[in-house]
């Protein structure tokens, strides 16, 4: 049995990717299973989806904690740290990234693969620069890099189950398959990134009543972001519009009244840039 875990963000199509993979595997004659992590999905928030592929009926109804393959729909999600949790030592890490796979952090033994699915998706008109729809491109790459499904079955599944732009999505899958690059595993001495051990937390000590008193400011939402605001102080008139309108309380005014963006909390919505009267804020892509 092959266990594949997808990491994306709300609205990006990770759940659809996992389902499409399952449909394709079924067309290959396999017995697939796919389901999302049942959380509260907000656009931009990290989400997880699971896909199992076997020759026989899948007899497990649990989340995947020891995946054979981890698929990351966007490199920013590697910053969140949990993507590689539990990845098997001989597993595969596939990331949507412009970078060479050899530059990807990974535990020893893991085969690393990368594909620039964002560029492929945008070339075919799928999604917007802020929210490109990369799932079909990365599924093509997955088919080529892992053999989990055949490219033919994937294209067939896209044709049947993707209601919008099936032709463009099929083309994106083919381009993804052609463009994926694979780097050899790192040896033990050179590995980076999360270890593959699954952490076991001690039993919880809870108060009597469900009363939350800690501040949410301890939660970083930087990984939600695909674009980052950059403020050109020379053009800033200190009108503080950006501060007034930021829904994420991510902008503070410094002693001189200039805005400072707290990147750990900025979600990259672009409001500050859109509302800045002199146009002193630019939204730039996260690396």
């Amino acid at each position: 049995m092959l266990e594949i875990r997808f990491h994306g963000r709300g609205g990006q199509g990770a759940v659809v990717a996992s389902e499409l993979l399952a449909q394709a595997a079924f067309l290959d004659g396999k017995r697939p299973q796919s389901f999302p992590f049942f959380g509260v999905e907000r656009r931009g928030a990290p989400v997880t989806a699971y896909c199992r592929i076997d020759d026989r009926e899948v007899r497990l109804r649990t989340s995947i904690t020891r995946p054979d393959i981890v698929v990351v729909l966007e490199p920013g999600l590697l910053r969140a740290g949990s993507a590689m949790e539990g990845l098997k030592p001989d597993g595969i890490l596939l990331v949507n990234s412009r970078e060479e796979p050899a530059a990807l952090p990974a535990p020893a033994g893991v085969r690393r693969a990368s594909v620039d699915a964002t560029t492929i998706a945008l070339t075919h008109g799928l999604g917007t620069p802020m929210m490109p729809i990369v799932n079909t491109a990365i599924l093509g790459a997955l088919a080529a890099a892992s053999g989990a499904v055949s490219l033919g079955a994937l294209e067939q599944a896209i044709d049947r189950f993707v209601p919008a732009h099936p032709a463009e999505n099929r083309a994106a899958a083919r381009d993804g398959a052609a463009a994926v690059r694979v780097a050899p595993p790192l040896t033990a001495g050179h590995s980076r990134g999360a270890s593959s051990a699954v952490a076991r937390a001690p039993p919880l000590e809870l108060p009597d009543a469900p009363m939350a008193v800690a501040s949410s400011a301890t939660i970083a939402t930087a990984a939600w972001r695909t674009l980052r605001p950059e403020i050109d102080q020379r053009r800033c008139t200190r009108c503080n519009f950006c501060w007034k309108f930021c829904p994420d309380v991510a902008i503070e005014l410094n002693a001189e009244g200039f805005p400072v963006v707290h990147l750990e909390h900025c979600k990259g919505c672009g409001i500050c840039a859109a509302e800045c009267p002199p146009g002193a804020i630019a939204m730039v892509a996260e690396g």
């Binding site: 709300g10 609205g11 509260v40 907000r42 656009r43 931009g44 928030a45 917007t128 802020m130 469900p210 939350a212 008193v213 800690a214 501040s215 949410s216 400011a217 301890t218 939660i219 970083a220 939402t221 939600w224 972001r225 200190r238 503080n240 007034k244 309108f245 930021c246 829904p247 994420d248 309380v249 991510a250 005014l253 009244g257 707290h262 750990e264 909390h265 979600k267 990259g268 919505c269 672009g270 409001i271 840039a273 859109a274 509302e275 939204m283």
Partner: protein, 319 residues
Amino acid sequence: MVKLTIPATELVRPGHAACPGCGPALAMRLLLKGLGPRTVLSMPACCWTVIATPYPTTALGVALLDNPIESTGASISGIRAAVDALAIPDVTVVGFAGDGGTADIGLQALSGMLERRTNAIYVMYDNEAYMNTGIQRSGATPEGAWTTTTPVGGAGRGKPERKKDIMGIVLAHRPVYAATLNPSFPEDFVRKAAKAREIAGPRFLHVFAPCPPGWRYSSEETIEIGRLATDTGVFPLYEVADGHLRLTRRLSSLKPIGEYLGRQGRYAHLTPEERARLQAEVRSGWERILREDASGSPGGPFSSRSSHAATKGDTVEAA
């Protein structure tokens, strides 16, 4: 030192879990700037349940009680009763609920709270659909808007029915203060919240709250869409105090509604005829407000309505 036009104090904390560009998140931030730290909020199931972050953290710098989706009105009556019984000084009791939790399933509790004249502020943030459950239509969804339960395609043309007039329903209860607020106008927003706080009796704030995924637009457009809502007459800004209606943003002319509709994917399917019909609706609504503004009292079916005011409404314009 730069001059700020709204208070610097932040009672919404960063790290919250709203979508990028979330109107309700900004609305809460502005609201609490006006209401201050001695606010006790009661909140039903809605997007903000999630935005406030899971246990053990909270995104609000005030006391917050969760309540079932339909009982916000009753919850704030109970909180107010406890605050009065225990003689806790200087507390602002606030219900904060979505349009579904207010205008649909929570309408009975809201009516009860207004009728028994609970000394509290009820805030309805209006993202015009059930968003927390994934964009299903509510009574407050506007006519023509796409939602997942008013699909477009085949016979589907978006929501066939008109938006429920929550302000009309509320004003029929004669609250001491009621106002419409829009986060695209932060100074007016904070002023109304602060003003509501100073008045005793049942108060209601109808807050416009754009939602990028639910309305299908790109997150950076939240503020501009809000501005257009008011400047096209879709969401006029006014307040009713002491039984008198007063426009707080006067317009010499309305922008064409197409500027507002055209920015949102939920209206993308509308034909020119359908747009024209919505335009006519908005115009007649706006004219009614103008008449009421001129006559100084809410007219229409509630022409006799006046409120039991506890404090004289002030006439201070936005800073």
